[in-house]
């Protein structure tokens, strides 16, 4: 086995990198792959919490790099889905505690044991991003339909391209189909036009994300929700399956006011 190594990144914070990493990792494991999600956000770790594994963290990957423990001791096995593992980040260290060469070494150690190594990258374009991206072959760029997020995604895509990552594919997160229909949100194609990279999935805004974070259970494990569906599709596309994009308009629930508004303004879309 030689794992595919994929970094999840965005530039801007708070767009859903960690949520995406956790859900895609769980989905890939559900499809029978052996997956490790690596929290590359040293000092601000959160992947453990999103995956609901925070109580089982003993060692972290910096302990592995510094040879305080063996890799097998640092890996946290998720008991809910076979084949799913977490490699936590250190919470009490800073991003300077590692360098890109050490990250590459770490990934090389994981590669023979897994089908997928997913690296959850910190926000920003400095050391933390460079460390996380160094070990990866492919990249997933997460953005939301807002100018600041798309702008930062553009910057990150440029950096990933210059680092030779390929393919680099886009996840549009937290899209609100209602608002797009009303012309009050950047649409999928508006974003693709300016970023001109391949899209791997669109995840609709969904309250289930908050519930799943509260419960520490990635949506793709159990919940049947629009966002869970979208992440399962993304995982399938990563596996090379040709899955059509979800019909997000069917999720657009329209209230009385918006119907009234549509009637008076005559907006078709």
């Amino acid at each position: 086995m030689a794992a595919r190594v994929i970094v999840t990144t965005s530039g801007k914070g708070g767009v859903g990198k960690t949520t995406s990493t956790a859900n895609i990792a769980a989905a890939l494991a559900k499809f029978g792959k052996k997956v490790v999600a690596v929290d590359a956000d040293v000092g601000l770790r959160n992947l453990d919490v999103i995956m609901g594994l925070e109580n089982r963290v003993v060692y972290n990957f910096i302990d592995v790099i510094e040879k305080t423990c063996k890799m097998a001791q640092a890996l946290v096995k998720d008991k809910r889905v076979p084949g799913l593992y977490l490699l936590p980040a250190a919470q009490t260290r800073t991003k300077d505690a590692v360098n890109p060469e050490q990250m590459i070494g770490l990934v090389e150690e994981l590669k023979p044991e897994f089908d997928f190594v997913l690296l959850d990258c910190p926000a920003g374009i400095e050391g933390g991003f460079k460390n996380a991206a160094a070990g990866a072959d492919e990249a997933l760029v997460v953005t939301t339909p807002e100018i600041p997020a798309v702008r930062d995604a553009d910057r990150i895509i440029g950096m990933l391209e210059s680092m030779g990552k390929s393919p680099i594919r886009l996840i549009i997160n937290r899209l609100r189909p209602n608002m797009v229909q009303d012309g009050d949100m950047l649409a999928k194609d508006d974003i693709l036009d300016v970023l001109s990279i391949d899209l791997i999935g669109v995840v609709p805004e969904d309250e289930s994300v908050i519930r799943s974070t509260n419960n520490g259970e990635p949506m793709t494990m159990t919940l049947d929700s629009p966002a869970a569906h979208a992440y399962l599709n993304i995982a399938e596309r990563l596996l090379g399956h040709d899955v059509p994009l979800m019909d997000l308009e069917s999720y657009a629930t329209r209230g009385f006011f918006s119907k009234l508004k549509k009637f008076f303004t005559g907006k078709k879309k």
């Binding site: 807002e146 100018i147 798309v150 702008r151 553009d154 910057r155 440029g158 608002m179 797009v180 009303d182 012309g183 009050d184 949100m185 950047l186 649409a187 508006d190 300016v194 009234l260 508004k261 008076f264 303004t265 005559g266 907006k267």
Partner: protein
């Protein structure tokens, strides 16, 4: 009917369209953001090439990247020529 249209904000550009236009301009500017060092290097190389063919007034050269509010970006160079070299081009 017009009152209702105005009330519901139907006569404005949708904010999505505004975002799209602003995003395009922001990215255009970002992508052509050039460091002073790069511009300096560019200037030196342009001078190297030009001096093979003509004598130019290096002190009065003005090269800049012009970004207006529209989508276009132009490299604007003003290079005073003193005299064109004749005959053989000196290529080192």
């Amino acid at each position: 009917m017009d009152f209702f249209k105005k009330f519901f904000g139907g006569d404005k550009d949708s904010s999505g369209q505004v975002a799209k236009d602003r995003l395009r301009i922001v990215l255009m500017h970002d992508r052509t953001d050039i460091t002073p060092q790069l511009l300096e290097d560019l200037r030196d190389e342009i001078i190297d090439v030009l001096t093979k063919y003509m004598e130019i007034d290096e002190k009065k050269i003005d090269i800049s990247l012009d970004k207006d509010d529209q989508r276009a970006v132009a490299l604007v160079a003003n290079i005073p020529v003193i005299k064109i070299k004749r005959g053989k081009v000196d290529v080192n």
